[in-house]
Symmetry: C2
Subunit: 447 residues, 2 copies
């Protein structure tokens, strides 16, 4: 049984072969669980003495703070080994969070080619495909035969992050095709790659956004996406496990946007207090300022409130109901834009659908409002009941249509529908439902 | 160049070898794009005449409506071939939406073993691992040598959905290990599987929830997850592309829940009007009913409103600001529960964090409110300004703490935090901010 004590004793007695042998018996996750509370120096030792096939996966599964601490603590002598033993994308991810001095120190102690490669990787914008890619992939040449190719796979494959797909380049190192490992394996040894490879390749440019890479991988159902530079040379691959993280970040960003929170990085617990306050204050201020218009409406109708004071008591119910209905419509459409690629051409469909759904909501909520006002205190006159019920029904319809169409308006203005539509809809509905409320009161009650 | 016309002419002249040859040159997506507006009968023809290695992927990439139409239209003679040529999970997905009569008709025209297998697959609950799995995977025996295993891979592998991992069974067909294709490939032909396989296996039970499968695959970073029955026999695998769909569904459900929408299936455009209304009405009714308490508070303080009528004008601003702040806190914590596994043990941390963030929000929003009331109409007395500012500052703090902790309360009550916390928080804040508002007014204005 693999245990923390066993691992420590093997490390102490420098019985690394036995350690590697025992690690081989367990999956990465079990190993990570056992070693996760070892001292950082022991973790570094393990990464240095185990072959890349173990160390790279183990490191990839550490918590980010552990990864960071490891890179803060590596001694000169171990730097080269560590850089060899990990996947490049995992290293870059950590380097991006270190101080410039520490990065310099680390890069100064690896061989020149590797250093130049990492220096280039570190120049890509933080949200670009380049910052997400790994350079551990299998490269074959178009003039290789299957048997030559399999030899290359054998040499590169053990350490590559994913070996389902191999990438085929020409003399200019341009990506000209892909071939699946299983096709290489089951083909004829004398076949030529150039005749058998898949020639139509989906790839992403190194400086393109990570969300573009995500979209391509979802559209084409890819486990791996090659990354190319402006000369069409392949310089890395993006793997599906990394893109799932991008998906989760995008979703978090969308969900936060819909609640009026600007973009934040990192988990709730680790996030800085000031950073969190900054992300939340802008929208609170906007709400406060736009509430000014709500006050103007209330002020304008103060005479009506003075004549029928009970009207004031039902303002929150009217505003709350129509605001929430509008928010429901907005959230459904925003999510559908993200998942089903709902677009501007669907404007008419959305209008029709919200109108139809509104009919149900208006009937049910109208009846419920009427009964509620009739039965529960404060007791009010029938004409006031009718006026309030009518205004709820009308503002429900306005809310559904505005809520459903606002995300499409955001698309047309080339804005993020989640960031623009969801927070805005409450304000628009506050004002419009108040207007409807008082106009109904004026017309039906003759005030 | 692959074109719709070329494909149609090859189909008409029954030149299937040439068709397969040309399909081989292009990726699945290009093929699907070209053929997607062919007649259903032509699509069925293509699926029947191309080998599984092409047809299975092509079918998997059709829109769901096309898949459904294909299964509605297959003629007797083609049924057997279609069932052979597609991945089982894709077939099951469609069968689940067909009429019982049509399912019966289809299953009656395939061989007995396949029929029994599908009948079993169709019995799994719609959200279970069993309903998501495919039975196209590679099975090896623990007593196989590497060379025997590679022969089996060769036979099964061409048609398996994913061949990175092979599953090793014992005489009782129980799952006893896994081995990576690359290890088989690079190992010694005389090695025994039983010595080289990975013995510690992560698997999911066939009747477990799909969300459990999702969790396991995220936790262990798996591309494939084996599915076992109560006898520990392997009966299928779940692949990462299918689990990404589950992830998106779960996120959609969470996002909808936070906006007070109950669980709905399918895309916005396809969803039934009645279904959508049913998903939205419950929460609108709850809001209407709880607004009753808001009215009670307003009614209770009607005397104060009569003395200082201008107080009424700023109720929406106070309720809006604190409600939105609370909602921001709730959404951040709910999302963090989903992504970072924030749990009950973090209650104190959340309380502390929200308190600290509140300090910033209270200072900034307090100053902003004060200036706004001092400068913009309607002009009000300084003591009223102070009273309103104080109540905004206090209810901001209450909102942040309640908003942050409510999702944790939901966890403790074993409720879905997204469904319980987010819609509830607005109501709680409406009432508590109103109370704060009037208590401040009573104390500071002496009314």
């Amino acid at each position: 049984m693999l245990s923390k004590e066993r691992i420590l004793s093997l490390l102490k007695s420098q019985n690394y072969d036995q350690l590697i042998y025992e690690f081989d018996e367990y999956n990465t996750f079990t190993i990570v669980e056992e070693i996760s509370d070892l001292e950082i120096d022991d973790l570094i030792k393990i990464l240095v003495v185990t072959p890349k096939i173990i160390s790279a996966d183990v490191f990839a599964n550490f918590d980010f703070e552990v990864k960071q601490e490891i890179f803060e603590s590596i001694k000169k002598a171990d730097i080269e080994k560590i850089f060899e033993h990990l996947f490049t994308d995992d290293i870059v991810e950590v380097l991006l969070e270190l101080s410039p001095n520490r990065i310099r120190f680390l890069l100064d102690h690896i061989d020149k080619d590797t250093r130049l490669a990492f220096e280039e990787l570190l120049t890509y914008p933080i949200d670009s495909a380049g910052a997400l890619m790994t350079t551990d992939y299998i490269r074959l040449h178009e003039d290789d035969t299957f048997s030559e190719a399999l030899d290359k796979v054998k040499r590169q494959g053990r350490i590559a992050e994913i070996v389902t797909d191999c990438y085929v380049i020409n003399d200019q190192e341009q990506l000209v095709g892909t071939i699946k490992l299983k096709d290489l394996l089951f083909g004829d040894a004398t076949d030529m790659l150039i005749d058998s490879m898949e020639g139509s390749i989906v790839s992403v440019h190194v400086e393109q956004d990570q969300s573009d890479a995500l979209e391509l991988m979802q559209k084409y159902d890819l486990l791996v996406l090659p990354v190319v530079n402006e000369d069409e040379k392949i310089i890395g691959i993006i793997t599906i496990d990394d893109i799932i993280d991008v998906l989760e970040q995008e979703v978090t960003h969308d969900v936060h946007s819909m609640a009026g929170i600007t973009k934040v990085e990192g988990s709730y617990i680790d996030m800085g207090i000031l950073e969190m306050a900054k992300a939340r204050i802008p929208w609170l201020l906007i709400i406060m300022v736009t509430a000014f218009f709500t006050e103007l409406v209330l002020d304008h109708f103060s005479m009506e409130l003075a004549v029928v004071p009970v009207l004031a008591a039902f303002i929150p119910m009217t505003m709350g109901t129509s605001g929430n209905a509008a928010n429901q419509a907005t959230v459904m459409v925003v999510r559908s834009i993200a998942v089903d690629n709902l677009s501007m051409k669907d404007t008419a469909k959305i209008f029709l659908k919200e109108t139809q759904v509104s009919l149900y909501l208006m009937v049910i909520m109208g009846i419920a409002t009427f009964i509620r006002l009739l039965v529960f205190p404060p007791m009010i006159m029938l004409d006031v009941i009718l006026s309030i019920t009518l205004s709820i029904v009308i503002s429900l319809y306005i809310g559904n249509v505005i809520g459903g169409l606002l995300p499409i308006v955001a698309l047309r203005l080339k804005q993020d529908p989640a960031a623009m539509a969801a927070p805005l809809v409450t304000n628009i509905m506050d004002i419009s439902s108040l207007l409807v409320y008082f106009i109904c009161a004026k017309l039906l009650l003759g005030i």
